[in-house]
């Protein structure tokens, strides 16, 4: 494993390796969340108090930031997955793999930023309301 990681991080790779690494990392993050999700749903019947505590944590500022990261992992994994499907189904698209990767980042930002803004809204709702009020927008 040490030899493998040494080769992976010392070889001067390009977009393809970064895309694959992010895909693996986001996949692991999604898997970890699924395990957590199974556990917290299990608590509904076994220990409702603990379940409520977990929900309160999810709604806390730290919980919401983690939720944004989960959303980012899901979105990246889905978009890069589509990129791989396209290349797999049409091998001639392999020559455009970098273009497809950049396009997936554009979609990631276009969908991800509004999504993050909605998830984090409770954290800045008051400031936003007073700012809109100051600007005369209700």
């Amino acid at each position: 494993m040490r030899r493998y990681l040494g080769l992976l991080f010392t070889y001067r790779s390009r977009e393809g390796t970064v895309a694959w690494l992010f895909h693996r990392i986001s996949g692991l993050a999604i898997w970890a969340f699924l395990v957590l999700h199974v556990l917290d749903i299990y608590l509904v019947g076994d220990n409702p108090g603990a379940y409520d505590d977990i929900l309160r944590f999810y709604a806390s500022p730290v919980g919401r930031v983690l939720e944004v990261l989960l959303g980012a992992a899901l979105l990246y994994h889905a978009l890069n997955g589509l990129r791989i499907v396209i290349i797999d189904l049409w091998p001639s698209m392999a020559q455009y793999h970098k273009v497809l990767w950049r396009a997936s980042w554009v979609i990631f930002i276009l969908l991800g930023l509004p999504g993050a803004a909605i998830i984090l809204l409770p954290l800045y709702r008051d400031s936003l309301t007073s700012l809109l009020h100051t600007l005369g927008i209700n």
């Binding site: 390009r14 977009e15 091998p91 392999a94 793999h97």
Partner: protein, 232 residues
């Protein structure tokens, strides 16, 4: 101009593990890294060991890790790399001495895909004709020089050295899509193995490393598509 050439040296009779040695060499911008290596070997340290033959990017003997990427020493120019150049043996292979790696397993995998024309039909009186379109189908993979830059840059190969590797798949592709060949089924059968094409993770290191500009990932995916189509 003066170039500092860092070389990962290893002599199994003297060293416990590889170590870096730096040599300052006089070089011209249009020199190839192979010229710089020759300057070290011929003028500074005759014990330096590396493979080279044609010195013109055809034989594929001098693929090595140059400034962090697999390249041919006889092809990459000094002015493309700068005044500090590092050279190490191909990653993922056992080192025999200095920049020479053990390629026995690499060539065993090459042989495993039957990289020759299989045709049991009676020998024709004239040559077997092929349309330009049919020839173009596998043109890209005829360019392979078996330098191993692709296989040695593949993280799937680093993780599991039983993976047949991009180079062998490229060689198989060259015959699988040749209309004059009758051995496609047996090659696809070999490459449908767990250590065949399915280990490719579309990382594209192989395509980036190929000194011949072969679209290797595309070739691998075309072979995997052929396996799927054959089994449907």
């Amino acid at each position: 101009m003066q170039v500092d050439l860092r070389i990962l040296r290893y002599d199994p009779e003297r060293d416990k593990k590889p170590h870096w040695e730096t040599y300052r060499v006089e070089s011209a911008p249009m020199d190839r890294v192979l010229d710089v290596l020759n300057a070290v070997k011929w003028e500074k340290d005759g014990t330096l060991t590396y493979r080279r033959s044609c010195a013109h990017g055809v034989c594929g003997s001098d693929a090595m890790l140059i400034n962090g990427r697999n390249r041919l020493a006889c092809k990459i120019r000094v002015d493309q790399l700068g005044k500090k150049i590092s050279v190490a043996p191909l990653p993922g292979f056992a080192v025999i001495k200095d920049l020479v790696v053990d390629m026995e397993d690499f060539f065993a995998k090459y042989r495993s895909v039957h990289p020759y024309q299989i045709d049991e039909r009676p020998m024709p009186v004239t040559e077997r004709l092929q349309s330009p379109e049919d020839r173009a189908r596998y043109d890209d993979t005829t360019k392979c020089i078996l330098c191993a830059a692709c296989t040695s840059s593949c993280p799937s190969f680093w993780a599991k050295d039983t993976y047949v590797g991009p180079a062998a798949i490229v060689q198989a592709h060259r015959f699988i899509f040749d209309t004059r060949d009758e051995g496609s089924d047996e090659r696809l059968e070999i490459l449908a193995d767990a250590d065949g094409v399915w280990r490719c993770r579309t990382i594209f290191n192989c395509t980036e490393a190929c000194p011949r500009g072969i679209d290797i990932t595309r070739a691998i995916l075309e072979v995997s598509s052929a396996i799927v189509e054959r089994s449907v």
